[in-house]
């Protein structure tokens, strides 16, 4: 399913075509280290799906571990996979910054908006 060729631990991504090598002791990754996509083999009710799991978000689980939130393009189910050391750092940062680049409200007004809601929004800039 995940492109295992001749048992020599190569992982070939079916989404971006990236090939990565893994030593005997390492376990096969559940997502591509380059594009962070995976294959949705089966859903929660154990039905086969086969859609591409596209990375949509980053979950900061604890200070030290992150997980990638993936969403199946075919059935829409979401799941998380832990970030590994081999994962493409730039891709991770790109996914994490996507929401910030298209905010649902003007970012400049965030302090004002939060004050209306009764909170205190500090957007930095130390002069007070």
């Amino acid at each position: 399913m995940k492109g295992i060729k001749d048992q020599i631990k190569t992982y070939r991504c079916l989404n971006c075509g990236w090939t990565s090598l893994f030593s005997e002791t390492e376990s096969m990754p559940d997502h591509c280290p380059n594009c962070l996509s995976g294959i949705h083999v089966e859903d929660e009710e154990e039905n086969e799906c086969g859609g591409i799991l596209e990375p949509v978000g980053i979950w900061v689980r604890t200070e030290k571990e992150w997980e990638i939130v993936q969403r199946c393009q075919f059935c829409g189910e979401m799941r998380t996979v832990p970030v590994t050391e081999k994962d493409n750092r730039i891709k991770i940062l790109s996914i994490a910054s996507k929401p910030i680049s298209s905010p649902p409200f003007p970012v400049e007004r965030i302090e004002e908006l939060t004050r209306i809601m009764g909170g205190s929004g500090d957007t930095g800039g130390k002069q007070k």
Binding site: I58, R89, S97, I100
Partner: protein, 137 residues
Amino acid sequence: MNRENKKRKYDKKYYRTHPCTDSFTCKICGWPVVSAGAGTNHRNHCPNCLYSIHLDNEPGDRESECHGRMEPIGVWVRKNGEWAIIHRCIRCGKISSNRVAADDNPMKLMALAMRPFGSSVISRNEIREMTLSMEER
């Protein structure tokens, strides 16, 4: 039992096609939540703390027996450019995605989106090394 109540009880997809106008008090932060002002007919989470409760298996069926708290773990951008909150059930681990409502706390939303940038998994040093290695010939 009148017809509407009967429908609500036996039609599994009642809340999928009908607006839910119930008011509730948030079980996590105690915020009084009314159905008005969300910009949607299906309010899903508390506009103050963004937590949700695991009630549905499929949208609107109210079939889940878990009833765990659903913690907001992140936001993502849908194809049409609007944000959706990713919720994860603390009890069973189910992950679901929900549109943001018009009156959601903008600061909480922004904090969710900014969370990865305050964590040390990808440290500033690592980014500096990355840029250096890219600049060098």
